[in-house]
């Protein structure tokens, strides 16, 4: 009997892999699209005495980028965000997800800070409200505070040019 154990364990693993395969980690439509962004009040990573709330970007089209200092893929997308921030086409806000304050600040000072401000979401509550599945994720939020798009995984230059920025331009035209 004991010689069957490896086979049994392997079969359980295959089942999970099969389920994993049917879930695409990159492309889950957010049920929140078209819905208002959740309200929150977080202290800013850069200046914990100040608060970041949706009021901070009401009336503007913005990107809300979920990041963490422990997230490897975030480093990959970071130069893209920095370049975008320099072009000043769209303000980027950050949601620092399940992180340590000092680690997050070190990260920003080391690699550069593309964010107008980052909210410090230590226990990930705001992330849960936003339906965050994995880090990094990026949301496009319109002037009325509605979520209009969600990009899962690192933002690539291609995704930026093809999907995100055209949408931002369209949303800017909206009243």
């Amino acid at each position: 009997m004991r010689f069957l154990i490896p086979l049994g364990v392997f079969l359980v693993m295959v089942i999970f892999l099969a389920i994993g395969l049917s879930l695409d980690p990159r492309n889950l439509p957010s049920p929140l699209i078209g819905k208002p962004a959740p309200t929150f009040q977080l202290s800013k990573v850069e200046e914990p005495s100040q608060a970041l709330t949706p009021e901070s970007f009401r009336g503007r089209v913005i990107l809300l980028n979920v990041w963490a200092s422990w997230c490897v893929s975030c480093r990959q997308e970071h130069p893209v965000l920095l370049e975008l921030a320099q072009r000043q086409e769209v303000p980027i806000f950050g949601l620092n997800y399940k992180d340590q304050l000092t680690a997050a600040r070190d990260w920003l000072s080391k690699f550069g800070n593309p964010y107008e401000a980052s909210g410090f979401d230590q226990d990930g509550r705001v992330g849960i409200d936003l339906g965050v599945y994995g880090v990094p994720e990026t949301f496009v939020i319109d002037k009325k505070g509605l979520i209009r798009m969600k990009h899962t995984g690192p933002v690539t230059p291609q995704a930026l040019e093809k999907d995100i920025l055209p949408l931002v331009e369209r949303l800017k035209q909206e009243p």
Binding site: F3, L4, P6, L7, F10, L11, M13, V14, F16, L17, A18, I19, G20, L21, S22, L23, D24, P25, R26, W70, C71, V72, S73, R75, Q76, P79, L82, E83, S109, K110, F111, G112, Y133, G134, V135, G153, P157
Partner: protein, 650 residues
């Protein structure tokens, strides 16, 4: 035209792979010598056609044939010739073709070196390899054909991912694949032995050199990958516990365990059922690694493509290969009898502990790698398991491995006398600890417990390894004669174990004492790290073949002595419009100095990352030592062909 030739060769290769997989196995089961002998010829023919197919793909890259979709997606007319050739395996389709080609290289090697094996055993080994090859080649043809045409043909290609435009990255995949795929030989030997009921020490003796070669390549591949991550990603790190890195590390751990348990099986006929299971595990983990990397179930910095159809194919293939082998194992293992008897205190048991620890370590990495997937499958949300998990789990498992490696070679097979061993190692622990304390106190701070522990363990391992060599040398009348009488494989073990110590020193010191500074520097400014002054001389624009770069010039001085000039670059690749940080490194035995450009700031100033990384090179030196140890063991006299007794089987 070359794409069509390649396509035809690929189809012919599949047909030969099927022949190689079906006839020898059926022939061996029914005792038909003619069918059994098909394997060798079919294997060689398969290699020939795969080599032509691979050549055709390379030709497509050299000739800038952008009518081939794969070439158009991963190359560009501005890409230098060297990288165009390397781009052949720079993405999914081509790297799978390389996988298949390497498998056929191993197959040909088996047909060349295993001629003295009995025909049924040879036939079964080649048959199993043929079946694996059939699966991989069908996968390529059905889901990832590198020869697909692109109509209309684009004027130019999409260029190779700039991260891969680098020397280390061009040879990393072939080395790693040689290791991954090489484990298929040990696997096929294990399955053949299970099928034929010939699980004996001759089987272990024949499996050892093959496992060793695969392990050497795997070690080299992992070292290269880590070194590449260090200088190319520009973060100063060398290991990220990324799923793709884990995918190469798990087979390595299990292959290491397999090497040790094969020794016990060959020498003493012990652990047969366990060894054969390890051989299955090692290759299964290679396949699982391929699945994880190719299917996109886990997001990763390294992952090339994510395609559920491919993932499904590999998963079914994985389930068939691993499932059927484990089923075969479950059916046959109960009848395996270990001939060995050994006492509680014996080298056998120490090797068993080494095996348990290494396999547990591999299992915990597997758990950490798959855990996010399992949570996701249960719809409990998606998470990333970060380096903290792996460091916390891995260190406590590896510490006893290192402690055991220090003394295990001193224990005798069958039954060791604890008193005798104790007589030899009485002073080892105090000596290692004292040396650890002295070096830590001299060069760093005594209260740094991690450095103290790491260095003491390294001294323990070095001391124990040299002691065991000495105790074997001592048996001879003179030292010289004693040194000469040691087998190459015993030197191999010594060097590989010393390699662990070297690695450990690098790991602990670079982890604990690296200094990292992010500074704003205008031309003429100086930043200091310890006794090194970094003087920023300025920035100029440089043109590369397919990129433009901002190149900084830094002078590094120490006490007014010029140490070196460093020229880090910030490259912007024209076609993919990616920005790449090309760090500049001044390597040294006891320290690396590392400069990476950050972002341009106002008035000609730049944000700059400066690193001082003590002993970081020892990490890779350690890996190379282990590899050298493997090479020495491989050159051992007993693996010369005429010395190997053929398998005694009907």
């Amino acid at each position: 035209m070359s794409a069509e030739i390649g396509q035809w060769c690929l189809i012919l290769a599949v047909l030969f792979a099927i022949a190689q997989g079906v006839f020898p196995l059926l022939g061996a089961a029914r005792g038909i010598p003619l069918w059994m002998s098909v394997g060798r010829a079919a294997g060689r023919a398969q290699f020939l056609f795969l080599a032509i197919a691979f050549g055709c793909l390379i030709d497509g890259f050299i000739a800038n044939d952008f009518s081939i979709l794969y070439v158009a997606s991963h190359s560009n007319s501005e890409l230098p010739l060297y990288y165009r050739v390397a781009a052949t395996w720079g993405a999914h389709e081509g790297s799978m073709l390389l996988w298949a080609l390497i498998l056929s290289v191993w197959t040909v090697a088996v047909t060349l070196f295993c001629r003295s094996l009995t025909l049924p055993f040879q036939a079964r080994v080649l048959g199993v390899m043929g079946l694996i090859s059939t699966g991989i080649l069908l996968f390529i043809l059905l889901t990832s054909n590198p020869f697909d045409r692109l109509v209309p043909m684009p004027p130019d290609g999409n260029d190779l991912n700039p991260l891969l435009q680098d020397f280390g990255m061009t040879i990393h995949p072939p080395m790693l694949y040689m290791g991954y795929v090489g484990l298929s030989v040990a696997f096929s030997f294990a399955i053949a032995a299970l099928l034929g009921g010939t699980l004996d020490s001759a089987w272990a003796r024949w499996s050892r050199p093959w496992t060793l070669v695969a392990w050497i390549f795997l070690t080299f591949g992992i070292v290269l990958g880590s070194w590449w991550a260090y200088y190319e990603l520009g973060w100063g790190g060398w290991w990220f516990w990324d799923p793709v890195e884990n995918a190469s590390f798990m087979p390595w751990l299990v292959a290491t365990a397999l090497l040790h348990s094969l020794a016990a099986t060959e020498k003493r006929g012990a652990f047969k059922a366990w060894t054969v299971l390890l051989a299955i595990f090692a290759f299964s983990l290679s396949l699982l690694g391929t699945f994880l990397v190719r299917s996109g179930v886990l997001t990763s910095v390294h992952a090339f493509a994510s395609d559920p159809a491919r993932g499904l194919f590999i998963l079914v293939f994985l389930a068939l290969v691993v499932g059927s082998s484990l089923l075969l194992y479950a059916l046959r293992a109960p009848s395996i009898r270990d001939s060995a008897h050994y006492a509680l205190i014996s080298r056998e048991n120490l090797l068993l502990m080494n095996n348990i620890l290494l396999v547990t370590a591999a299992a915990s990495i597997l758990l950490g790698t798959l855990y996010p997937l399992v949570l996701d499958a249960l719809q409990w949300g998606k998470i990333s398991v970060g380096p903290p998990y792996f460091s916390n789990v891995f260190a406590p498992l590896m510490a006893p491995v290192i402690l055991l490696a220090g003394i295990a070679p001193l224990f005798a097979w069958r039954e060791a006398s604890l008193a005798k061993v104790w007589g030899k190692i009485r002073w080892l622990a105090p000596a290692a600890l004292t040396l650890g304390i002295i070096t830590t106190a001299l060069f760093w701070e005594l209260k740094d417990i991690k450095v103290l522990a790491g260095l003491s363990m390294a001294f323990w391992l070095i001391g124990g390894t040299l002691l065991s060599l000495w105790s074997r040398v001592q048996l001879r009348s003179s030292v010289l004669e004693g040194l000469q009488s040691q087998s190459l494989s015993s030197y191999g073990m010594t060097i590989a174990h010393l390699g662990i110590a070297v690695f450990l020193v690098g790991l602990v010191l670079s982890d604990r004492h690296s200094v990292e500074k992010v500074v704003r520097l205008a031309p003429g400014d100086t930043a200091a790290i310890g006794r090194y002054d970094f003087i920023f001389k300025g920035i100029k624009t440089v043109d590369g073949p397919n990129f433009k770069a901002q190149e900084g010039l830094f002078e590094v001085r120490s006490e007014d002595q010029l140490i070196t000039e460093l020229k880090p670059q910030k490259r912007s690749y024209r076609v993919q419009r990616n920005t790449m940080t090309e760090a500049a490194i001044d390597p040294g035995v006891t320290r690396d100095l590392y400069v990476a450009l950050g972002e341009p700031l106002d008035a000609g100033a730049w944000s700059v990352r400066l690193y001082y990384k003590p002993f970081i090179r020892w990490i890779w030196f350690g890996g190379l030592f282990m590899m050298m140890g493997g090479l020495l063991a491989l050159l051992d006299r007993r693996y010369r062909r005429h010395k190997m007794d053929p398998l005694v089987t009907a």
